[in-house]
């Protein structure tokens, strides 16, 4: 039972590919795998912590002010991530830049708090947050791998394609993000239709 809450975020309810949530960071930080992993783990941490806290306080908060309260909870954890990252991983913090504070408005996090954590017990909520977060990280890594390999011939900053390969620069620029995402969504649809 609990295991199901954990694994559903990977494929069946993958926040990026299936539910199309949190598109802004997905497209913005996937120009390199390094950034994608950093963003994914930061969001996973915030998701787990906010899901835990929301499910602990769900009976105390009147339902009328629950959304503002959730936002404050999420914003506090985002501030924690923001400050610790700038202290311990300054290079990553700099390259993610604006998108660290913007985790606050990532619809995945508020969505899980509202749809899951406010109705379930703390253990399941943490597992749900962890699963969704890892599903998000995985999706970011897939997109980032395609873009980094095509656009720079590199993976995690290491050269993987022969140096004679002329990088498709467009893949790491803004248009590449949209096009790779569109094609991946199309592939997901084909896979879904085949299953039926």
């Amino acid at each position: 039972m609990a295991l199901k809450e954990f694994t559903k975020g990977f494929v069946k309810e993958n926040p990026v590919f299936v539910m199309a949530l949190g598109l802004c960071p997905t497209l913005a930080v996937t120009s390199s795998v390094n950034n994608a992993v950093g963003m994914g783990l930061a969001a996973t941490f915030v998701l787990m912590c906010s899901n835990l806290l929301v499910s602990l306080v769900k009976d105390v908060i009147p339902s009328k002010i629950r959304i503002p309260s959730f936002i404050v909870i999420i914003a506090s954890f985002v501030t924690i991530v923001d400050l610790s990252m700038s202290a311990f991983l300054p290079a990553l913090h700099k390259s993610l830049g604006l998108f660290i504070p913007l985790i606050v408005v990532n619809c995945i996090i508020l969505g899980r708090a509202e749809a899951f954590a406010s109705k379930n017990n703390p253990l399941n909520s943490v597992l749900d947050g962890l699963g969704m977060g890892l599903g998000f990280t995985m999706a970011l890594m897939i997109i980032a791998s395609i873009r980094e390999i095509l656009g720079a011939g590199q993976f995690f900053g290491m050269q993987v394609l022969p140096t004679s390969y002329r990088p498709m620069l467009v893949a790491i620029l803004a248009p590449g993000a949209f096009i790779v995402m569109g094609l991946l969504m199309g592939l997901m649809n084909i896979a879904k239709n085949k299953k039926k």
Binding site: A20, L23, C24, P25, L27, A28, I67, P68, I71, V72, A75, S76, V78, T79, D82, L83, L98, P101, L102, V104, V105, N106, C107, L110, V170, L173, A174, P175, G176, A177, F178, I179, M181, G182, L183, M185, G186, L187, N189, I190, N193
Partner: protein
């Protein structure tokens, strides 16, 4: 005259060169979600212009008159998102009371704007780029106009796509993404401009 020139430079930069949607990746959810019909795209665009301008003004004042003197800049994220959420609520109530006709066309979009990352994004960018008070207001205004421009263009394209013969798997979101990619490519052409 010089002032007009600077305002123009700021406008071109915010609308074309650093377009919020296509080059900064902010506000993608409404860009994909509310661009199916031209009418709703225009409504959403107007609402975003309004809220982005207001939010830029108020968050700038909060940063420099409240957070900075008290040395609590680390509360920026929390303070800004709460400001924006209450601002959106306030705007909604004011419009509902004073301009029912406007409320009818904008009403449904206003609650969605709280989670539009372009609004929080422009507020934080204004601070990060150390813009002046008027620079911040104009950045919000022009950023919102840039958002509206691409939203309306996108809605126009998608209304036509309805009738196009697209492979089954690519209908809806996937083709919208590809269209966005082509638009981003066109907007990339502006990036060489330096003003």
């Amino acid at each position: 005259m010089e002032l007009v020139g600077r305002i123009f430079a700021l406008a071109v930069a915010a609308i074309f060169v650093q377009n919020f949607v296509l080059s900064r990746f902010l506000g993608l959810c409404p860009y994909i979600g509310v661009s199916k019909k031209l009418d709703s795209a225009i409504g959403m665009g107007m609402a975003v212009v309004f809220v982005m301008t207001m939010a830029s003004t108020i968050t700038w004042m909060i940063q420099y008159f409240l957070l900075k003197p008290l040395h609590i800049e680390f509360l920026q994220t929390i303070a800004f998102i709460l400001t924006i959420a209450s601002l959106v609520q306030l705007v909604e109530m004011v419009i509902q009371k004073t301009a029912p006709a406007l409320y009818k066309s904008l009403g449904v979009f206003l609650p969605l704007i709280t989670t539009n990352c372009a609004v929080l994004g422009v507020s934080i960018l204004n601070i990060n780029e150390q813009l002046t008070f008027f620079g911040a207001i104009l950045n919000g205004l022009f950023g919102g106009l840039g958002f509206t421009l691409v939203l309306i263009l996108m809605a126009g394209i998608r209304e036509r796509l309805e009738k196009a013969d697209i492979p089954q798997a690519m209908r809806g979101m996937p083709i919208a993404m590809i269209v966005a990619g082509s638009m981003a490519m066109a907007f990339l052409g502006f990036s060489g401009m330096s003003l």
